[in-house]
Symmetry: D2
């Protein structure tokens, strides 16, 4: 349950409210210049609603609150500037290599992502690798290449943050912080990126239900940051024919439960280059607001995830088809 206060409430107003709320636990949130109080339940809801500093009391019957449709009926649209928006009826294409490997690789990547019709450039500078002895990324050097390449071609940047210590260092280089699947419930990291007030793309963990994903997103939202993008990237099942099981069922389910945009990552989802386009199309047809696709100038030479990266030609062929499917769906509503 969220008690939403009016604009420009004073400290005195808040003190009065807390007195009326009594002894129960409240959690204070400041979002979009508004003060909100999250409370478990209200025995005196009507009294609270009539207090002069209260705008409304929103009843929400799920453990997640601010990210639920009950809290906000309209789709959240995240505006990255330069006409690049995520959510609502916008179709977003994010593409680029798994790892940032060199300046030249990023320039080439940005060029073909832009040419294919992409809006955001992806690339990892800090890589979460299963083994400590695998390539761990170019770190800050990688961030510089990523930013330069994106700026040159009019793209926005999304890149993964693995650690609280990197958050401030990364802030000037990225437009969207990505939280990887393995860190979906690294709650301290979620709070840290939440506090930046920058857009955050949160990947669903391999064993996370959609409810778990929404509760994790709530950790970001509870810092007053509602610029959150949810990414479906495949769950772990018994099936071994594919790297993961991209769970497109999550797309319509999430669109009902939350106002946040949903992006599908078919590259990690199915993990097999030749099948990525089919799953990208299926993701858009399921209603996703966009796709995040690994693409590399020369996939066979990639330092990581080459077997699931599209070639520039494959990306170029795919994006127009995604737009046509998206148009059909828009016409359908």
């Amino acid at each position: 349950m969220i008690v939403r206060l009016k604009e420009n409430v004073t400290d005195k107003d808040q003190a009065l409210l807390k007195q009326v709320l009594g002894t129960q636990d409240v959690y204070k949130i400041e979002a979009n210049n508004r003060v909100l109080y999250q409370v478990k339940q209200l025995i005196n809801q009507e009294e609270i609603e009539h207090l002069p500093m209260v705008e409304e009391v929103v009843q929400i019957n799920t453990s997640y609150q601010l990210v639920s449709r009950d809290y906000k009926k309209t789709d959240t649209i995240i505006d990255l500037g330069d006409q690049i928006k995520i959510g609502g009826n916008h179709l977003t294409v994010i593409a680029g290599p798994c790892s940032v490997e060199s300046q030249e690789q990023m320039m080439t990547s940005a060029a073909f992502v832009k040419a294919a019709g992409g809006q955001l450039l992806r690339g990892g500078a800090y890589k979460p690798r299963t083994s400590p002895y695998s390539f761990q990324g170019l770190e800050e050097e990688g961030l510089i290449y990523l930013r330069q390449a994106a700026d040159r071609y009019g793209l926005k940047v999304i890149t993964e943050v693995m650690d609280i210590e990197h958050v401030s260092e990364m802030t000037p280089y990225t437009d969207v912080f990505q939280i990887g699947a393995r860190n979906m419930q690294n709650f301290k990291l979620l709070e840290a990126v939440g506090k930046t007030q920058k857009p955050v793309a949160l990947k669903r963990g391999m064993a996370a239900t959609v409810t778990d994903l929404l509760n994790a997103a709530e950790y970001i939202a509870a810092q007053g940051n509602l610029q959150i993008i949810l990414i479906e990237r495949g769950i772990r099942t018994f099936e071994t024919a594919t790297r993961n099981t991209l769970d497109l069922n999550a797309v319509p389910v999430l669109k009902e439960l939350t106002h946040l945009p949903i992006i599908v990552d078919p590259s990690h989802g199915i993990g097999i280059r030749k099948h990525v386009p089919a799953m990208a199309k299926a993701g858009i047809a399921a209603g996703a607001h966009g796709v995040m696709i690994e693409a590399h100038p020369e996939p066979t030479l990639a330092l990581s995830d080459g077997e699931q990266s599209l070639t520039p030609e494959m990306l170029q062929k795919l994006v127009p088809t995604l737009r046509r499917i998206h148009e059909i769906l828009q016409a359908d509503i």
Copy 2:
């Protein structure tokens, strides 16, 4: 490995061949008026290939043989007559109620399935129910209603067979035998429907990998019956927000591995009426040859699976969108 003989081979030819094959186990298959021998391996492959009665020796490196793309490169297209075909670039819509409940219900259903653009009418006369005390179906009476309704509206019939004993009784009533997910590895039933030489639609089991599904299909094929349709209907995972997890990843993977048509069942796959259309669209966009959808004149009154059945209006709205997505994909190849 399959040794494919020429047309009109004599018993003497076969005896000679078996002599050359030596002591190893062979499995004889008669399909499309041809005799085939499945063998584990050939030490004398060249000798075999040059025998006069041998047309070709097909090397297949998977446990399943006749259903693999290695055995047959071109898509199998199943012709049900009256211009109704499944596979290749045909888009098939199968719809109807979960259970046959009455003559009137089936007539109404056939009417709206036809009006929506469907080709096959579904409906269960024998129902596999989790509890022995649940409604078990109208049995032969149900088959009569199903057949009458389909014939009246120019539709073909697909219905589930649960038991060998019913196979011959059901033969005049159905155009396609459906094998349910719980019976996917009921090998004796697979052999029995294989022997009928009628088309068989095989549903993927809840814990079956795509390899398991293809091996199960091989039991039908080994009876010389290659008129098999594979149905993806959702696997069991940890996710509880949906009834099952419709695994659309299986669609492009199966299309690579087999020449058989793939149909998607979004109704059981996601199990929530309002989300069925999104998953049907996603299934076609993933490359499926069609969809099988539960639809009922009045879903809230259905004796089974009402919560996942579309209304006639929902089906009417959905099918044209599926056709438009299918056209985009066809143009794309």
Copy 3:
């Protein structure tokens, strides 16, 4: 809800009862010389309870009825004769090869199973194989070898039935019908073995919840046959280090929910010979009423499942440890 009638009720009594029960669906069961009626709910429970032919009305709040603890508080003990009992505080050891391969193999197997302290001999004469081209079993010849070997060494026989057509043929050869995991929801087969009134061992399917398993057992019970043994043999999960994931959590959960005996099959459960003893011990420590173990005179020569079969020496060493753990648990209650 079960309405349990008194002994020796007449047809007239039953007609009267059905009249009072009214129009609702009832399911009649004859078990242990008693007539039972399964009904969904009773609006007039008190009236029914006071009818002269009614012994009691048992309220059961699960979809499964006769197999639930609510129906029967005390553990079911299945008496196979010759002091061999399954359930309660008896510890049962079932062992033997995956497939019956020859008369000699079965005689050797029976000898070492008996020497190790086993009570039942297992061995498959009809084999459910993933591929139609794999060894399918010796069929009736195998049953003869199995029965002879068991009789020679004072063991009882358990063997898998895959098809209704075999039920009567197999009846003289086996003491316990085994239903395999792939057939757990082959409801027609469950009904057929239920009708024999012989003990049935029902294996949990790879994607079956414990509730699914109990509902499947109810299909057997609904034929009046309550001599049912449940077998936990591993479920399918994402873990690939083991063949299946033996789910020992099911043991205490099932013991609470049902009065039926629970046997653990560590051979299929973990699927790796050297690790089978650890899981057998764990199964008994979890509270199982026994184990079913694959053991072969020479596992490396086995026609099926050799990699998970114990050697005679391993079985000989294991059983006394199982008995010691069982004794500790008995002392503990």
Copy 4:
């Protein structure tokens, strides 16, 4: 592959070695006063082995290296002082409440854990909660209560660290750092606790294979810290009758692959109080080196996980049974 140097090697020795190793990537590890180099492969292995500063070259064919049995044949035994050891043939009982709630609660808990025969006291001061609005722990105040209670009763402390920032603050209060399942692949946190050279207990993630778990442990080991305890606490499967699926199969599999001690957590594993003892016994029978059990003075009043916490009486009754099962297994080897 690990190149293990002799004691007291000089910088000059190392420079020479690196010259011989050539251009390939090496990863330097200092563990137990020895310098190790992890290398992908050696083209000149014999030459390296004969260098004067090299003690041995250990060939290891898995992605994880230092934690593998190939690297170290004998069981690792972690000595916490005061005769409390984990691993080898020691049986370790860790118990205590989910959350530290008050000084009194911890004193009471320590008293009954000690009386029951436990060696380590558990309790969370920083709690990873699914929702940001749930109780998040007493933080440093909680650590003080935990330490005081353990010291009073001669127990050692284990408590979860959720964030790098807390590592140094927590160091004086805890004997073992616990990494929770959600943070199993929070690689930066693994490195941070690795560097402390204190024992670390690493919980298996809900979707982690045993290989993933060992690779995560390698992140700690790569900091030269081999005092690692692995905890099996249940994986996520389709089964909903239990909170998680405690995967005891992992116990024998891990004991073969690694020299590290394995502890079983039946409380989170099955998640139902009355069934925890059965799974604890099964865990020890499967070969685990100990158990970690949630127990609370008054489970029904617990602020978190009360439904899976044992009462003091249940713990008191359980531990002697665990010791008897452990003795049987020790006698058995």
